[in-house]
Subunit: 470 residues, 3 copies
């Protein structure tokens, strides 16, 4: 089956609207990429080694891809994911690729399918859809490209036109990779760390006490000192800021915030270290630490991003065998209005505080996030994330938030990806979808075309720079 | 940038559908306006004074407009809203207008932007979008119009073709303005009061006890008499009915109803007067009073409208400084099925009882409101309200409710506005959107064109007259 | 008003998309019907008697139809529904039909209106919309057709091209009708029973104890033996399997599951028989029995379908007078992620276990059901059901689930109907809507046309056969 990218893909079929969409898209198609939140490892660019093989590149680490094959009955080790316990042999990259090719039809209509076919075609010049008969040939073709200099990470970084790329990092990370890149005169890109402190804030996280211990060691304070803990967190944030960080990211189960007195917080902290908190107390402490994180953001200027509402590791069996990020994180009902209120009561009207609220429960967009961002100067609407980072979901998102909050309260596109090669396809998708949405508004007489042209450019450039203080 | 209203605005771009939409719209474009629920002050029409200036007319009182500038970092006093406590000078109308003009791009794609550009163009003949360079000229142009006789409220009322306009009034209002209008032979419009008793029903409302005191005084009963309280409410409703009211409106946090024994209700009432109710008891009493309101509606015939699900005054700081209705009321999750059941168990099948259920949580439309209205003869589906009163949201609403409940269980359009000048633009928007929705169904072979023509007329005329007993 | 079926009905109006949709639809328009879940009585096909009259055929038993007239103020007895208590005369079939004809406009835009007009036109050759003036003539026309051999149930079964039809049956049903059909050499259709045990699993169901008694009698075990109860349920499932059943259906208020120790379950069972369970304990026992049902499905291979989230018999008054299934079952908020987790922890990765999750709360589709089905090999996405089985709702459903789960995790169409004559119109609707959805994706460059052709065929044939093990 022929694979050919439609130049007008994602534009509405109606010819008049399609013409407007194409004209808007042409304004932004070639603008540099700003990626203020994602999961690419900085070492990729420091090392600048060739990608090993198509399976590792496209399949093994992409739980969007592996989960659909798992649902179809393929075991995860057959997809190259090593089991944490078993001595079972992991499939070879070529076997993984063959399995994937045989299941390619599963991805029709999915976000992953869209990105993959974009990448296959535009980066590797592949003009057929993968299937069992061509699996080996495509594997060889991709493999042959990967060993060329043009496919080294830095070459791709330049070719993709990436202006800014933010990574996601542990608070105790030494940021050596970031410093190496910043100090390397042969590399011009801007690669920024992001402070991601969940495992240091939520006592219910496995390893929380030892993380607290590492903070205390670094800070030279006693493990049991709540003041030292707070000081250490602030100190690590400063270290991140010094190394270029612009944001701190919070992946929480619920966006619950609570304003505890320092003495009450300290008392919960003490008991958390002994492992004696009830679930309710752990929730209270976590909510308090989200408040404290906001306070620190007001002080140090780090943009605060909140990614709530995911039930992580839903399948214990899979988690035990293959670890986290293996495809069974499931969204839950999310609500911000009362949960986030204590935080907004304190910091919502702070003018240099930026709080970007994401959701994987799309009911929140029109009901809560757009109204909040339409009033509080600090609040911005996070782009559709994870399961919602897909053409129809993005269209629903724009429809849900724009009539209340306009275009200028949204964060701009965020790719949130660990799949480096998918970055241009994702940003291109967002640009096409915003062009399509605006084109409809133009055709419905709701926005003048010059205004739409300005907006589509601002969504790609001015807005992410402003929201993320770039 | 040129501002020009597209004659086909809000119609689908597809030419065949657009043709049908235009033909349907032509059936209703010039029908009189029926506005059975809104917030225009009746004194506006009694006094019939010129509107003072563009800022007061379009900005200061419209929290849809001010909140987006606030989100962009503009202080509310810079928008002409006087602070309740500070001695800070409030911006002059011309300054307010300049600020607004400089922020006009924020409204692109919003409901407010749509109404404003409609009004600027069709009422004031403005043919450019506001910006910093033309702010003074536009201000002067609008100001010059406002002092002419054609822009007096009564002249506009006639020009807008308003047949019925309902206001929203305090239960103790003397309705003098309504009587003055009804008794004025030089004014032919029908301006009806609406009974809005929330502050008299919910003990958690600030001022509840003094409101109860005012009721008792009027009724000549003891403040502490629950029977007198009920009697006084019924009496005030009768007074409203005598002065033309057709509905009672209930703005509640949740549509919770409860069937308390009178003695239990009386006991809660007693303790409410002493301020000793728990939150749960206050909720119970409020739920009971919603039941009592339904009982009174069954007796006196007032249509009962319920507007639930808004967290009022989310920002305490803003509330303290600028008062209510300043842009930080945020929708919350709403559910009707179990909450409203006690009320429907008693009165749901009463044939002359009309209960109109609104929501700002749009998940409720397909899940709850359409199914309820599709069975109970008393229940009607309230039009999309507040944040949802916008083109895409209205399209989602029609899509969500029609397949279950058809067109004849919906309330017809309700503008709910305090912005008098926006009334024709809002009703015109609703007519265009219903035409567009019906046109799609015609083109998809789901409705015959003659049926669509009848429906679009009924939505504008027969339905609101029936639902609101006009 | 002329009634004429548009050959392109439900296809998008845009000509290019419409062409693709038509081409896809032509691939599947005439494929046999697979109906793996519904409520047609098997005796209909055993007896093969003429349908008595238009009112009984189209109105009396179809609560989709009667509820909208009830909402319009028509009493249910005027629609031919006998009151359980009153001596009130029930309207004659011709009167019922006249009432319905006079209210035909209520159905414009509804799912019922769509099915009815399809059936009137394609089965009875009716070319006018019902109204008061033609009610008698249409009644006579339909009646005249019903007495012909072509309109006997078996003739229609053949004419409709039904390949498989599943019924829904009480666990203690003797399945004589199914055996009669299977043993009748003159009938070639495949009519399968479905095990529907709710009234035997949930102690809060009226009649639960006597149902448990019937199970025990059949099993020859003591009523009070929990082990006997479990054994009897397993035995009845085997009896269903022996008689061709492929699935067990669970209509639960919430999809709550719980993993109780057998001794704890037995103890709740004992107390349930004495009627002394609290509401929480009844919930726990019901959740446990949903777990047990999954265990049995893993053992005996019956596909487990879950239909949660309906508040049954919302109006006590109507229930008392007219019984269940009279139009006042109302959807409630549903959530699967934590409720179903205990079940998935045990059986989610079992490869021959099939669990089909339905919802009438459409927020669940993108947030929960698609992510769950996109990982667990056992989980399939149930087709839009009940209030959501309608053109726009189906389009929203496909949009909500496809980008996460693709097409191959959905169940295929399920008509779920007791209206035998509507079966072809419903399946035709589903085929048109899937063609329309796929056509848009083709036009947006997201799916290649050959892939869309394969998918549309698989949705009609391969998928329901696979999911329901046919």
């Amino acid at each position: 089956m022929k694979l050919q990218l439609d130049q007008d893909r994602l534009f509405p079929s109606d010819p008049a609207t399609r013409d407007v969409a194409r004209a808007l898209y042409e304004q932004v198609a070639d603008l540099p990429i700003i990626s203020p939140h994602g999961h690419v490892a900085p070492s990729l660019l420091v090392d600048d080694q060739p990608f090993p093989d198509p399976a590792e590149l496209f399949i093994r680490f992409d739980h969007y891809v592996t989960r659909l094959m798992h649902a179809a009955g393929v075991d995860l080790d057959a997809l190259g994911i090593p089991s944490t316990s078993a001595s079972m042999p992991v499939a070879s990259p070529r076997e993984v690729w063959r399995t994937f090719s045989a299941h390619w039809q599963l991805y029709a209509g999915t976000a992953s399918g869209y990105w993959l076919q974009s990448t296959f075609s535009s980066l590797f010049g592949i003009d057929v859809h993968p299937d069992e008969s061509n699996a080996d040939a495509l594997y060889d073709r991709i493999q042959a490209a990967l060993v060329t200099p043009e496919f080294r990470p830095r070459a791709l970084f330049a070719r993709f036109g990436i202006d800014v790329l933010a990574t996601t990092d542990d608070p105790m990370d030494d940021l050596a990779a970031h410093r190496a890149l910043a100090g390397d005169p042969s590399f011009n890109g801007r690669v920024l760390p992001t402070f991601r402190p969940d495992a240091y804030l939520n006592p219910a996280t496995p390893g929380w006490s030892s993380n607290v211990g590492r903070l205390a060691d670094w800070n030279g304070s006693s493990v049991s000192s709540y003041a030292g803990y707070i000081e250490a967190l602030a100190g690590r944030r400063r270290f991140f800021v010094e190394n270029g960080a612009v944001s701190a990211d919070h992946g929480v189960f619920e966006p619950f915030t609570l304003d505890l007195a320092p003495s009450d917080a300290a008392s919960l902290f003490d008991r958390a270290l002994t492992g004696s908190l009830t679930a309710g107390e752990a929730r209270a402490f976590t909510g308090h630490m989200l408040m404290e994180s906001a306070r620190m953001s007001v002080e140090d200027g780090l943009v605060m991003t909140v990614h709530p509402g995911v039930y992580r590791n839903h399948s214990s069996e899979t988690f035990a065998a293959f670890g986290p990020d293996t495809g069974h994180d499931i969204p839950v009902t999310t609500t911000y209005v009362e949960n986030i209120r204590p935080l907004l009561e304190r910091y919502g009207n702070e003018k240099d505080f930026h709080l970007v609220l994401f959701s994987v429960d799309e009911t929140v967009y029109s009901r809560e996030v757009a109204p909040l961002a339409g009033f509080y100067p600090s609040v911005y609407i996070g782009a559709p994330w994870w399961f919602l980072d897909a053409p129809d979901a993005v269209a629903r998102f724009r429809s849900a938030v724009t009539e209340t909050a306009g275009f200028y309260r949204s964060s701009g596109f965020i790719d949130d990806t660990r799949a480096f090669l998918s970055i241009p396809a994702r940003h291109d998708m967002a640009r096409r979808l915003d062009s399509a949405f605006l084109a409809r508004l133009v055709r419905e007489g709701r926005i003048a075309q010059p205004a739409a042209e300005r907006i589509v450019r601002d969504l790609v450039d001015a807005l992410p720079r402003k929201v993320f203080k770039l």
